[in-house]
Structure formats: structure tokens, C-alpha cells
């Protein structure tokens, strides 16, 4: 079991790409000499102290532009108190112009203890919220206030407990965290317990996008005219695609005419055999339709 946990702790995902594997992270850890980082022993993963640990940060001695940073995730079951649930680690990149951003986020979650498991089951029964919180500033946690997010507990259980974080950052500040299951949250709820009591986490860091600029035409008036000149030729449509609306009625008419033409001689035959007409007085009147032909 311990080995299993160990594997889990390091195979948690960095970003969308599942390709980031744990061994690379471990090397990172060593390189940066993270103090207070996760010691890689299997039992300490879930025996982490519950009170909030100050973020430890150590400057990279060589470049002075990168350092390692760690902040913690706390969780609560329904209305309970928040307790330690895991650690986020990231590389803090200081740009030349002084701005600081986080890159290379990875996450190690503690395994659920027995009481936590029970609490989670209670949440599932009561259809209550599983809540998490993060500091709003990663350098001086908790910042001004904690960032809280909640999800109905029923959304998480899948194969394991599946969770998905999108952390919205602005420099070293966390604005918000979108927390929930990676897929859909089924409704009405199914009273389903996870097969494995461990978390499968996906984390994404997000920064603000640039808004598109208003188009400016002042410079390329000429270009615009040019664009007008060469009219983009539409790909020539196939004959069928162009005229199908005429062809289909035409076809119908033709078919109709053909069947009528075929009916004509048959009807004469039918007229000769009187017995049949008496048996089917109704159908004799009808002519020219395909069904009449078939019925015979």
C-alpha cells in the first residue's frame, strides 16, 4: 500500500499533459533544494502536520531569477474546519522587469485518513459540499483572505476520486480556483463510492488572456482595396450540389411518367381478366402509382 501511495504522490499531474512524469519532478526537487518539501518517504505523505506551514522559499543561488515555492491546499467536509490536504509546489520565475510568475506547478495530495474517508462518505449521503481553500498570495500565505471553492461531494467519485483544479493567477496572487470533477457531474446523483480512496488530480495554471485589439484600418486602406479586388473564389460546387433541388423533382416526375407508362399496358391486361377487378374494386381505379404495381 505504501508503495502505491508513493507512486501516486509523484504521478500527480503537472499540467494538462500527462507526459510530465514524477521522476523529473524529483530531480527538480533535489536541484532546488527545497526546504520543507515533501520528503520522499511513503509514510510521511499523510502524516503531514495539520497546521498551516509557512511557505518556504529558497532563492536559486546561481541565477537569482528562479526559486522554488510551495503552498498548501486545505480541505473541509461540509461545515467542518479546514485541515491540511496537500501541497502545491511551483517554480517562481522573476522576470527582468520585476514581475513574478509561477510556472511548473505540481501537486502532491495527502492520502485520505480513515476519519476523512468517513467524513467523505457522510458528505455523499447528505449530498453536501466538499470544500477546499488556497492562500490568495503564495508568497505570504494566506494573503488577504483564503480562496475558497466547493463542489458537491457526489461529483468527485469515479474510478478513484477525480478532481480538477484550474488556478487563476495574477503574478504571485491567486484570484480564484475552479474546482470540480474533470468531467460532468451526473444528476440525479448515483450513490456510488469510489473504487479507490485516493485522489486523481489534474491541475492547470491560468493567467489572463490579452483582449483582441480593435481592428485598425487607417494604415492598410490600400491593402483592403486590394483584398476587394481579388474576390475570393468560392470553390466550384459539384453539379449535384448546385442543382439538387431541381434534379430531385425532375427525377420524381420522370419516375412517375415511367411508372404510368408501364401501367398502361398492364391495365389493359387487367381489364381483360375481369375476375381480378372484381376482387379489388378499389385498386382498379388507382393507376400509375408504384404501390398499385407492387400490390399486384
Amino acid at each position: 500500500m505504501g508503495v502505491f501511495r508513493l507512486v501516486w504522490a509523484f504521478s500527480l499531474l503537472l499540467t494538462w499533459s500527462l507526459a510530465f512524469q514524477s521522476d523529473e519532478l524529483v530531480i527538480d526537487d533535489e536541484e532546488l533544494g527545497l526546504e520543507g518539501g515533501q520528503p520522499r518517504s511513503s509514510d510521511s505523505v499523510h502524516t503531514q502536520s495539520l497546521h498551516s506551514t509557512a511557505t518556504t522559499r529558497k532563492r536559486f543561488s546561481d541565477s537569482g531569477s528562479d526559486s522554488k515555492i510551495q503552498f498548501e491546499l486545505e480541505h473541509a467536509f461540509g461545515g467542518s474546519q479546514f485541515s491540511h490536504a496537500g501541497n502545491f509546489s511551483a517554480r517562481l520565475k522573476t522576470w527582468n522587469h520585476g514581475a513574478q510568475t509561477l510556472t511548473k506547478l505540481w501537486f502532491s495530495r495527502n492520502a485520505l485518513s480513515e476519519t476523512e474517508r468517513n467524513n467523505f462518505q457522510k458528505l455523499l449521503q447528505g449530498d453536501d459540499f466538499y470544500r477546499i481553500r488556497l492562500p490568495s498570495n503564495v508568497l505570504s500565505p494566506p494573503g488577504r483572505e483564503y480562496i475558497i471553492s466547493s463542489v458537491k461531494a457526489r461529483c468527485l467519485p469515479g474510478e478513484a476520486l477525480e478532481e480538477h483544479f484550474v488556478i487563476h493567477m495574477e503574478g504571485v496572487n491567486i484570484l480564484a480556483v475552479n474546482y470540480g470533477s474533470p468531467g460532468s457531474c451526473p444528476y440525479p446523483r448515483q450513490p456510488k463510492l469510489p473504487a479507490r480512496w485516493s485522489f486523481k488530480s489534474h491541475t492547470v495554471l491560468k493567467n489572463s488572456d490579452q483582449a483582441p485589439r480593435a481592428p485598425v484600418f487607417a494604415e492598410d486602406v490600400f491593402g483592403g482595396e486590394e483584398g476587394d479586388g481579388e474576390v475570393v473564389k468560392q470553390p466550384e460546387k459539384a453539379f449535384w450540389a448546385k442543382y439538387w433541388m431541381y434534379l430531385i423533382p425532375l427525377g420524381l416526375i420522370v419516375m412517375n411518367a415511367i411508372t404510368q407508362a408501364m401501367n398502361m399496358p398492364e391495365e389493359q391486361v387487367a381489364g381483360q381478366s375481369g375476375t381480378q377487378t372484381q376482387q379489388q374494386p378499389g385498386s382498379a381505379v388507382q393507376r400509375g402509382t408504384g404501390s398499385t404495381v407492387r400490390r399486384r
Partner: protein, 985 residues
Amino acid sequence: MAMAIRAFLMFVLFLFSTQFCFSLYEDQVGLMDWHQQYLGKVKHAVFHTQKTGRKRVLVSTEENVVASLDLRHGEIFWRQILGTNDIVDGLDIALGKYVITLSSDGSMLRAWNLPDGQMVWESSLQGSKLSKSILNVPKNLKADKDDLILVFGQGCLHAVSSIDGEVLWKKDFSGQSIEVQQITHSPHNDLIYVAGYVGSSKFYVYQINAKNGELLKDNTAALPSGTYGELLSVSSDMFVTLDDTRSKILLINLKNGEINYNDNHISDLIKDTSGQGVILPSRLPGIFALNLDSLGILIKVTNEGGLVLVEKINNAAALSDAVSISDGQHAFAFVQHEENKIHLTVKDVHNWNSDLLKERIVIDHQRGNVEKIFINNYVRTDRSNGFRALIAMEDHSLLLVQQGEIVWSREDGLASVVDVTTSDLPVEKEGVSVAKVEQNLFEWLKGHILKLKGTLMIASPGDVAAIQAMRLRSSEKSKMTRDHNGFRKLLIVLTRAGKVFALHTGDGRIVWSVLLRTLRKSEACERPIGLNIYQWQDPHHHALDENPSVFVVGRCGPSLAAPAVLSFIDAYTGRELNSLSLAHTVAQVMPLPYTDSTEQRLHLIIDVNQQAYLYPKTPEAIHILQHEFANVYWYSVDADNGIIRGHALNSRCNGEVVDEYCFDLRDLWSIVFPSESERILATMTRKSNEVVHTQAKVMTNQDVMYKYISKNLLFVANVAPKAIGEIGTATPEESWLVIYIIDTVTGRILHRMTHHGCQGPVQAVFSENWVVYHYFNLRAHRYEMSVVEVYDQSRADNKDVWKLVLGKHNLTSPFSSYSRPEVITKSQSYYFTHSVKAIEVTSTAKGITSKQLLIGTIGDQVLALDKRFLDPRRTLNPSQAEKEEGIIPLTDSLPIIAQSYITHSLKVEGLRGIVTVPAKLESTSLVFAYGVDLFFTRIAPSRTYDSLTEDFSYALLLITIVALVAAIFVTWVLSERKDLQEKWR
């Protein structure tokens, strides 16, 4: 086949779209729109009746309007609206032809031409510190043939020429720490006295030569005690004030520049009173008025400096300034209340024994108390003195009273609309008399024949006038019943005075009005303010016999911690059904989407202590809420700290008092914006009653995009802290605008985008799956409008027709906010020329009709801009298919087409808000714009495709049919005859 239909529809749409703008012909003005002009609550009034010309009264109001009114009818001769921050401090007439206004804390002095309201001159008076601002236009103060205007403002005394507004001399008092209280001019020796305090107990007086501003003498005296309230001048060299215990009257006398004072106990003048008085600010020669225990007391100041009690007035409501009626004779008026009547008494200041006038006027009690009175005298036909009074009431209405009657009244409370809701009118009762039908039929025929004449262009000018008049006063549109198209409704507006009006949408008349008891000043509630008005009961199915009702939420004072008040009003009659003074406060009112068996809507009122209270307080409501307990979510915005929080209901409150209708709440999520980089500027949500017709949007390449339609979306616009101020105070590098689209159930940020070099003010509108917002781009030095559309990707694979046919799609699967949304957004920005006061979007009954944005421009007009101009998919060279779909070629700025102003030539002065209401007819949307003026119209963004126009000539149609039938018969007869002839041949 579907494709053919689609192509056809596209073509039809394209045909429609080639008609960009919907505009009016000149003769259609006033057919379906109305416009009303108001002023606001009158603060100052000056009569101008000396000349034989038109008699008028000049007023300035709390909405910063300066206006000249016709004294005979109360119509507006002219009106000037100063900006919202340009508060009028004083109003007077100079030279008999200029209206002088002092505004902006005594820094703006303007002269308006009395006959037409054109501005003659404007003078900006500089000063260094904020102070009281005083405008004093002495009657005969001349310096070099120039009449002087004395202005005190910003700590400086200015003497301004009334001819051209030039500052002749200036005296700065800001160096001394004196608080100037009064400026008087003594006409005998051309001296100006400037009186004021230092602290509250040191009295200063400066004597200034009026000719050149030379300081002649300054004097100071320490008063025996501190002072309370303002200094009132009784004559040019006598002042009164109260001491700080408010039990003594200090009388300050300036004789030859010497300060003498004496103090008198109020209790010496009036026996057996112990209350604390307030000096009323009415300017009366030799007399002042004191308000003591709601008793008006007039005290005369004798020449020797003694005080004599003149009169006690019971139930005194208001006191006017004195007017001079002849040499040395001054009159003033006061008003007393009695039930639904007021007593107006005019007295001579120096002769107390007789009344010059005593009248009793019946006043609608819905107008409340008299707040201000201004009087004016005239000479009666029998050469005696007559008086007229202009009265400003508690509901901000304005009355002119003369000869015991209300000559005219203006409902100027409507200049300060706070919130608007609508109500349907009652259903028409069956049973119309035959005579009425006959008459109607005759009228109908006559009307149509006239119209026909008009169509065939054979109408005489008289007929044309008759047609126009008939169209304008069409009795249909002002009926008090519901109509088939849903054009007739009641607009129920809450005004700042705490009065609720119901306006008919047909002609804008006031159907009923009610001054709410809960929003009137009282002991318990010192400064009540009305906040919002909501639908309470809107019966349409099983409770049709009950009238709909609305409720008003108010608060006892400007602070959030003041207790809340509620009033329930019948929407048909205006009766106040019930009113509650609540024990809790109100921070937010949340109408829930549930109604009880009598169709009363459930509301949660959230107070500042984060507790939610359920209304109506019935067990049934509790029962309904318990069912939906887990589905109630809301959010709160803490703009000061930059935090948005999401909440859900938790449990019953556990206070000392058990309250079944009170609930605790808990925080579900929070978003904390970093204070060093962002400040919340604006938030916007979708309208809760908005209808979306289709969730899919067909693209040109036969692709389908699904709109992300969630009721729980919030748009937030943040700016950089440095750029929070006015445009121009921040450089483009230090200003940015960040916009967010947030799901308010889970707190997920669905979209986040930064506009660099941009700043507020931000105006936004959210509808369906898109948001449009307006801001300033500092780099381009222009205003911009951006659009963001949100599309749902999780439904994107429902394109296959077979899936739809076989039901293997997830379109009908329940939508959960807790599922991870897969959204994509498209956005685009465009330049827009105007700055914008408000943005709204048209709303129609089923949401099929295309949308128009209604933009309240800085010129106080409403511009209708097609949403298609703000389409993020606009490209430079749209393909043929895209053109068919109605995509407009990309341009850098949004066009402003003069015909698309829905206010046509009118202005909605001081525009503050636009409200749209769907009519029953799908193509049409009702628009109500309010500010100082009110404007209502109905618009059809895609033209009225579902009905014939009002001036459609049915008669022409009938005649054509009749003519055709006749022609058929004639030709038939002819052909028969011809046949017969053929046969005989």
C-alpha cells in the same frame, strides 16, 4: 428540404437585414412614444412679474436644473440642466434681465438670459478651500455704473460685474481660518459686512468698501459661549444665532464697526418651554423665526437690541422669505397643516394685528407635507395686494396657489426615478353596449375613409390634420384594459421622494400615485430612502381575481446598517396593502423563481449580518423553500475589498429569538482580486426574466455552435487602482481593464481577459450568452465597445442529424453547474464615438426577434444599435454565405446612424437608466428611458413582421375586394351574354 428552407429563411433574413435602421416618419412622432419633462425638487425660486410681459418664476432644483416656468400654467419656458456634480447653490436675477446661478461649491457663476435661457456669460471663480457658498445680488450696489454681484465661495469674496461676469475685485479669506457665515450689504454707506466664526465662539467681522474691495476695518469679539447652527442676519448689521446649549439666543449688533452682543434665554421669552430651538433660515427684516418643539416662534428684534415675542404658530410647516410690497412694507407667508388642508397666512412684518391674506387650500394627502414656500405679490383689480405662493411638497411636486386654489401643479418627483417595474392591466370585461358598438363602428368607418383619402392623396389639408389628430388621440392606446398585443401596461416607478407612481404606457398619464408611509420622515426613521421596487404578486392563472401587487424595499437612512422597511402596493389601485418596519437590515433582495398558491413570489432578503429572511412569512413559503433549499445560491460583491463571494443557505438562524423565516448562510466560494492590481468597477448579470429562443447557432459552414446559456453568469470589470479616476489621470502603461465571466454557483472563472491601456467608466449589458461593454482606450484616445460571446463545447458534438433523430444526444440531459464547463469564447472590440450613460438590450416575449442594443449617449438620447454590429465573427471580407447569414463586413468603428435614434429629435435630459419590457407581440419591445425627463416608446428591432402596421388601410383592402367581386360579376354577365350571342349566330 430543410436546407432549402434554411436558405430561404436566410434570404428573408438578409432582406430584412438590408434595412439596418428602423426609423420614423415625421408624422409618426407621438403615435407610440411620449416624452415628459420635469425639473426635480425646487430648492430656490425667484419670481419675475414686474414687467407687463410674461409672468414667470425661475427655479433651481435638486436635479441641478435651472428653469423658467410660466406662472399662469406651469409650463416650462426654458430649462438648463447642469451636470450631476454641478450643484446649484444660489439663484437670483440681476439687472432685471439675467438669471444668475452659483454652482459647484461656489466656483461657477453663470448668467442666463431671462427670456430664452441662453447663457450670457460664465465666470469660473478660483479659490483655495472649500467653504460655504453665498450668492448675494444687492439691489443697488454700483461700481462705475456696473451692478455688482457678491459671491462668496472657496474661501474668497468676489465682486463680479453683472454685465459681463468680470471679477472686479477679490478678497481672500482663506488665509485666516475664519468660517464666513454671512455677507450683508448696507445700502446707506456702501459697506459690505463679512461675518463669520473662528472655531465656534470667536466672532469676526470685516468691513469692506463695496466700490473697490478695500478692507476698512476688521473686528473680533469672543462670544460668551460656543454657537450652534448658522448665523442669520436680521438686518444688514444685526445677526442672531444660538449658543451651543441651544437654549440662549445670541444677538450680535454691529454699530459703527463695534461688536456688541447680548444673550437672552429662550425661556425668558416663552414661558414653560425647555426644548432646544433651531433658527429657521428665512430672511425677514427685523424678525427671525425659531423652531421649538414643533412650534414656530417669531421673534422681533427691536432697535435697542431687545427681543420681543411676536407670535407662536402651531403646526408650522414652512415659512417664506419676506417680499416687499410697498415702501417699507414687507410681507411674508407661513403654512400650517390641518388634516388634508393647509392654511396659508400672509402677514405684514411690521403690523401683526391683521392678516394680509388667510386662505385654506385642500391638498391631496398623497402629496405629503409642505417643505418650502415662496411668495409673490401682485396688485388685484381693486388695487389691493394679492399674493400667490409657490409650494414645494414632500413628494417633490410643485404647486402654485392663488385665491385659495391650486392654479397648477407639477409632479416633479418623477424627475428622480429610482427604480421601475411593470404590471399588466386588468382584462377587459365582457358586455359592451350596442350603442357604443354602433358609434364605434361609425367612427371606425369614418376614420378609415379618412385614411383612405390620405392614402389616395385626395385628402384636403383639413383632412390631413384630422387624420393626424385622430391618430394622436386614439382612444385605444390609453384604455385601462389589457390589449391583445400587450402594448398597454402600467409602468410603476419609485421616486426618490418615496412616492410610487403608476404611468400608463399609452399616453404616459399618471394612473395613481401613493406616498409611502414607510418612506416618510418619522421619529423612528429619520432619513428614509427607497431602494428598489419588485413584483410581489403577478396572478395569471388560478388567482386571476386578485390584483397584482408590487413591493418597495427601503432603508431608514443612507448607511447599510439602517433597518429596512417594506411596503406592499396594489398595482391596479395604488392602495398600500401593508407596510412593515423590519428589525433587520437589507443588503440584497433576491426574488426566487418560486411562487406560492396565491402566486406571491418568494423573496429572500439578505441583511448585512449574512442572514437571509424569507418573505412572505407563511408556512407555505417555508414549505416551498425547504424543497428547493439546496438549490438556492447567490453571490455578494464586496467592491471595497475586491472580493466576490458565493453563498448557499445553511440552516435556521440560532439566535435568542426563534425565527422560522430566518436562515444562516455559508460561503461556498470566494474570489479575491489582488488589491495592488485590480479594483472592481462594474458588475452585471443577465436579466432573470430573459427568454432565449434557441440555444444553437448555425454557422455559415453548416456547423452548429451551442450558446452557453446559464442564468448564473456574472460579468465583472476591474481596473488598475491607478486608473480608477477620471480619464486622463493615468498613463496607458499603468492602466488596464480586466474582465471576467464568472459562474455564480461554483465561482468558476469561465473567461478572463485583459485590455491593456484601457480604463473605465465601464457600462455593460449581459444577455443570452454574450456581454457587451463600453470603456475608454487610452492608447487610441477613443471609447471602445467589446463583445464576448460564450459557447458551450460540451454539446458541440451534437451535430449529427442521426444522433438527433435517434435521441443519442445530450441536449436534453440535465445541466449541472458542477460539471466542468467546456466553453470557448469569441470576442472583438470596436471603436465607438460617444461616451455612454447606460446600455440596455431589447427584450421580446419569446426571444426570437433579433436584438438591438439601446445606448444612452452623452447627449441624453437613446441610440438603437443592431447587435449584429457587435458580432465577434465579423470578418473583413465575408463570404457570400456569411453575407447571407447577415454578417457585416468588419469595420474598426461602430456606425451611428442618425435615423436609429429612438428618441428621434427629443432629449431625455439627465438620462440615468433604460428599461425594456417585452410586449406580447413577439416583434415588439417596450422601452422606457428615465432621467430628469421620461421617455417611452416601443420598438421592433426586426420590424413588425408579425402584424400589420397601425396605419394599414383596411378600407382600401375592403374596397379592392368589393371591386374585384364586382368585376367578376360584370365580366361573368358579359361573357354569358357573349356566349348567347355566339350561340344565336
